[in-house]
């Protein structure tokens, strides 16, 4: 029996293709997890190819020819900066360079950074280069004495109170090591915000000194940032020591390019070798992907995504979701899945998650819409409750009967409304507008509604209660 792609596109998968299906899914998810950014197949070299070459030259220069280099790797988020430097370091791994990785998010002060450098050096060279690591060891010897416990706990902090002179002592040591050093500074712009930029100054100064002497092994300082004006952040004395080399990376520049990348990711090669049904599956799957990507509506969605943001990671996330949703019963990519993925991973309309609110929450939302119409952007719980009470009273007193029952609204006690109100505050549908509501009773704290009127209308429409709809319409 031949599994016919054209007729059987929507049916469940026959059992004998299951291993292929699983292997493909696995492989695609693997590629999506760490996509290769530089793998475009256009004739002219892309920006990232050029950048990769420049960076490789620079790192090679340091590792092989003992140069002192500094550069800035600049590019928007998700354009492959970190990946590129990792690849370069990987290429020169045979020379065993010492790689010091710092991140501006973690090492928020120069002293933290210093300590981290010391730690990484210790790990990679096996010798302590700084006196503070010895102090650390001493502190731990005293552990038997319970009265010194407090001091012991603080020993981590005491490292931070080292005189700044140590900074100057540590960084030049980097030149005296027997192996080349590569310093990678992630979030470079944050290091530039440290007071007096002493770490950057020391590092870049060392890089400059490296040129003069001949017996050192080379040092490279690579800053990674997405902030365009990072160089302008540097002080004059720091900037003059920086080589000024900026290597730029970019995400896929055109829709065709990103579609081509998506196609490469979705059509892995060299998977499930040795399976007898491999060819059949491959043909079927590739046809499916082809059809999927050429579908007009899918193309529109991908085009929109590309138009909204050049960040390729959004596309990656959308594809990841589509692929994880594949099951043996539904083994092909569908338009429905991609629409849902676009909504969840890309645009995230706020209303979507509020479709199924309980009745008291709906009442409070409508009451807040009324407060808004009344000119009160912010409201207290008491105001909403009053509005709700009025509405209930109005409907109860109306002598109208419909189908033998009164048209009154469902009664909801005040305590239930309060707890619902607190739930809404917890999910930040109602956001507090006051600075410090410490001594104000909780029913008088002012809130603002984060959902706009249009969305409230949609939610109430969806809930389908005539009473609530009418009540909401009264506010217009």
């Amino acid at each position: 029996m031949k599994f016919d792609a054209s007729t059987n596109l929507s049916g469940p998968l026959p059992d004998y293709l299951l291993p292929c299906f699983n292997a493909y899914k696995h492989e695609i998810l693997k590629t999506l997890h760490s996509p290769s950014v530089a793998s475009s197949q256009t004739e002219s070299p892309s920006i990232n190819d050029i950048a990769a070459k420049q960076l490789t030259d620079l790192v090679d220069g340091t590792v092989l020819r003992a140069e002192g280099n500094s550069c800035l790797l600049l590019g928007p988020r998700g354009s492959g900066k970190s990946q590129m430097i990792d690849a370069c370091i990987e290429k020169v791994a045979f020379k065993r360079p010492i790689v010091l990785r710092l991140s501006g998010w973690v090492q928020t002060t120069d002293r933290h950074a210093l300590r981290e450098i010391a730690f990484q050096l210790l790990q990679q060279t096996g010798t302590a280069l700084l006196p503070d690591t010895e102090m650390h060891a001493e502190a731990e010897i005293d552990e038997e004495n319970p009265f010194l416990e407090v001091a012991d706990h603080l020993s981590g902090e005491s490292n931070l109170t080292l005189p700044p002179s140590h900074l100057h002592a540590l960084i030049p040591i980097l030149l005296t090591l027997s192996r080349p050093v590569i310093v990678v500074l992630d979030a470079f712009d944050l290091f530039a915000l440290h007071p007096r930029q002493s770490l950057l100054y020391c590092l870049l100064d060392t890089v400059q000194n490296c040129r003069a002497s001949s017996e050192n092994r080379g040092i490279a300082v690579v800053g990674i940032t997405s902030r365009v004006d990072s160089v302008q952040l540097l002080e004059k004395r720091v900037k003059s020591r920086f080589s000024g080399r900026t290597i730029r990376t970019a995400p896929p520049g055109s829709l065709q390019e990103s579609l081509a990348m998506a196609k490469i990711i979705m059509q892995p090669s060299g998977v499930c070798e040795g399976d007898t049904h491999k060819e059949e599956w491959k043909q079927w799957w590739n046809e499916g992907v082809q059809k999927f990507l050429e579908d007009n509506e899918v193309a529109t969605i991908l085009n929109e995504t590309f138009g909204l943001s050049r960040d390729f990671k959004i596309m990656i996330r959308m594809l990841t979701r589509c692929v994880t949703q594949l099951t043996p019963n539904q083994p092909n990519l569908s338009l429905k899945a991609v629409i849902a993925s676009a909504e969840i991973q890309r645009s995230r309309p706020r209303r979507k998650h509020l479709d199924n609110l309980p009745y008291p929450a709906l009442c409070l939302l409508i009451a807040s819409a009324h407060a808004d119409t009344g000119g009160h952007k912010s409201f207290t719980f008491e105001m909403l409750y009053e509005t709700y009470k009025d509405q209930v009273r109005a409907l109860v007193s109306a002598p109208v009967q419909f189908n033998g029952g009164s048209i009154g609204m469902m009664r909801c006690p005040r305590e239930v409304l309060i707890s619902t109100f607190e739930d809404l505050v917890a999910v930040k549908i109602f956001t507090c507008t006051m600075a410090s509501p410490s001594i104000i009773a909780k029913q008088f704290i002012k809130y603002r509604c984060a959902v706009d009127r249009h969305d409230i209308k949609g939610i109430v429409e969806k809930a389908g209660s005539t009473n609530l709809k009418k009540w909401l319409n009264k506010s217009q």
């Binding site: 699983n22 899914k25 696995h26 998810l29 693997k30 999506l32 997890h33 988020r77 990785r101 991140s103 998010w105 973690v106 090492q107 933290h112 300590r115 981290e116 730690f119 981590g156 902090e157 997405s226 960040d311 990671k313 959004i314 996330r317 990841t320 994880t324 949703q325 969840i344 991973q345 995230r348 706020r350 998650h353 509020l354 479709d355 199924n356 309980p358 009745y359 008291p360 009344g374 000119g375 009160h376 207290t380 008491e382 105001m383 009053e386 469902m410 006690p413 005040r414 305590e415 239930v416 707890s419 619902t420 917890a426 999910v427 930040k428 001594i439 104000i440 009773a441 029913q443 008088f444």
Partner: protein
């Protein structure tokens, strides 16, 4: 690819998606948003991870270790670090060895800063990889270890430890490990996202709110677990006896019919069910005890009667238990149906309604024991907090001619003169602070109007109002004000040690409480309010 069955109706898609991701290549940062049932979601995530990490049948070569950390209980950075790493390596601090943390082979201190935490993670990873490589007999196993860190209530992280938010979202790249961080939160990522694009965008996952059918199935599926709690085999001892299962299913259906519009939270519904179920089954068991026979005789009729009897009590349970005015055990005891409720004529047994408005009632009870003057002070301060100061002369002013008080004409709320929005009644916006002297003046007016007759005549104080003046100048008034401040019936808004300026206070009793007090003192409160309740 992991194919475990999902025991949580309504969570099948989520279960499949997350399970697939964890067992293949999870994105480094996943954000799960669940506005309504986050506790259930955390249980689901836990069960996914437990299956994946425990099962040796998983055809992946990667061993998953996971840690869940709740940002409410782990409120400092150190607690978070310790709970993550101790759970990942399966270390339990014991009292005997001084509750020490897990110590890595290199013996590094990993709980004092973020740097060291990352080193600790690496050490833990290395340790576990080594352990795996040494224990596995299979040579194809290359000792890969994957960490999954689930951060529950992540919105708290951005409030209490904002400096950790960015590093946690970037933990995989910082630690350079096979690691995935899952944030579980009630709020949108947009609401807690750090500025300037400091965090990478997460892989979003949303939990759709459960449908009614799913909730019913979920609650019913809990029954076997509940019936295992009691070891007794007797139907009279075990509240959740297995033979009651079909009745329980019926009970849950009618419970959800009543309660679903009000809350979609599984835990809340389960709580209400736990409170009502013992009473619901009692009439049947009574009958069973009397007649010592199986109850299967007329199941449908019995169910109809139960429905009729208990439908309204479920609403009562909801009203009392959803805002936690009382607890389930107490409520169940108070609302237990009497013996032989089936034989009572229709409508004879009504559930008690006394739980309503418990908080207001408690406050009232506190206040009925107050001295009479304190009650006057409370009313006066309520008026002072509610009325605008400018209106005092018109409300309480006494001219020589004792002319009638002019009240603001109560007109329908429309646009104010200046074109701005109409003013909201002060009692809805909340009390305003008032100066102590103003309150005492109002107190004087109140006493003059409502208290003069009850006083003993004093020959020395003959001028009209002189006696009241004496009353309000007593030291007792001030001490009473201070006492009520300590009881939190009044709030002092100025500092106690401030010397310049008069002390300011704010009334802390509700309108309802003030009405009760006024009725007791025979004051018509509504006449004294600037914008009265229509």
């Amino acid at each position: 690819m992991e194919e475990t069955t999902c025991n949580f109706p309504g969570y099948e898609d989520f279960h499949y998606e997350l399970g697939t991701l964890f067992s293949t290549y999870p994105p480094p940062f996943i954000y799960v948003r669940d506005p309504e049932t986050s506790r259930t979601t955390s249980i689901v995530i836990d069960s996914i991870l437990r299956n994946l990490s425990g099962a040796s049948s998983v055809p992946t070569t990667t061993k998953i270790h996971y840690a869940r950390v709740d940002c409410v209980s782990s409120f400092t950075a150190r607690l978070i670090y310790e709970s993550i790493i101790n759970t990942l390596v399966g270390w339990e601090p014991t009292w005997q060895d001084g509750c020490g943390n897990w110590s890595s082979p290199q013996d590094i201190r990993w709980n004092d800063s973020l740097d060291s935490f990352i080193h600790g993670l690496r050490a833990a990873h290395a340790h576990l990889s080594q352990q795996k490589a040494s224990t596995s007999t299979d040579k194809t196993n290359d000792g890969k270890v994957r960490f999954v860190i689930v951060v529950e209530r992540a919105e708290r992280l951005s409030d209490s430890l904002p400096e950790l938010l960015v590093p946690f979202t970037r933990l995989a790249e910082l630690a350079r490990l096979d690691l995935s961080v899952v944030f579980l939160s009630q709020v949108e990522w947009e609401d807690i996202k750090p500025p300037l694009g400091a965090s990478p965008d997460p892989y979003y996952m949303d939990i759709q709110s459960l449908s009614k059918e799913d909730i019913v199935r979920n609650l019913i599926s809990n029954f076997p677990a509940l019936s295992k709690i009691s070891r007794s085999n007797s139907i009279l001892q075990n509240i959740y006896h297995p033979s009651l299962k079909s009745l329980y299913a019926h009970f849950i259906t009618i419970l959800c019919d009543v309660c679903y519009p009000f809350t979609h939270n599984l835990q809340e519904l389960q709580y209400i069910a736990a409170a009502r179920w013992p009473g619901f089954r009692k009439p049947l068991l009574d009958e069973y005890k009397e007649q010592q026979r199986q109850m299967a005789a007329d199941v449908e009729a019995a169910r109809m009667r139960l429905n009729r009897l208990f439908n309204s009590t479920i609403t009562t349970a909801l009203d009392a238990l959803l805002p936690r005015l009382t607890n389930a055990a107490d409520w169940a005891r108070d609302n237990e149906p009497p013996e032989g409720v089936f034989s009572l004529p229709r409508g004879q047994w009504q559930p008690q309604q006394q739980q309503q408005g418990l908080t207001v009632q408690q406050q009232d009870e506190n206040m009925t024991n107050l001295p009479r003057i304190s009650k006057f002070i409370l009313i006066a301060s309520f008026i002072a907090s509610t009325n605008p100061p400018k209106s005092d002369l018109r409300m309480f002013g006494r001219g020589v001619d004792e002319r009638k008080r002019k009240r603001r004409a109560t007109k329908a709320a429309g646009k104010s003169k200046s074109g701005g929005p109409p003013k909201v009644a002060q009692r809805l916006v909340g009390p305003t602070p008032f100066v102590l002297d103003r309150m005492i003046a109002i107190l004087g007016a109140l006493l003059e109007d409502n208290d003069v007759e009850s006083r003993l005549a004093d020959r020395q104080l003959t001028i009209p109002g002189e006696h009241t003046d004496m009353e309000i100048a007593r030291v007792g008034i001030f001490s009473s004000v201070m006492e009520q401040t300590s009881m939190r019936l009044l709030h002092r808004t100025t500092h106690a040690d401030r010397l310049d300026g008069p002390p300011m206070f704010k009334c802390a009793i509700s309108y309802d409480a003030a009405t009760v007090l006024a009725k007791e003192l025979k004051i018509t409160l509504n006449d004294l309010l600037w914008d009265p309740i229509a």
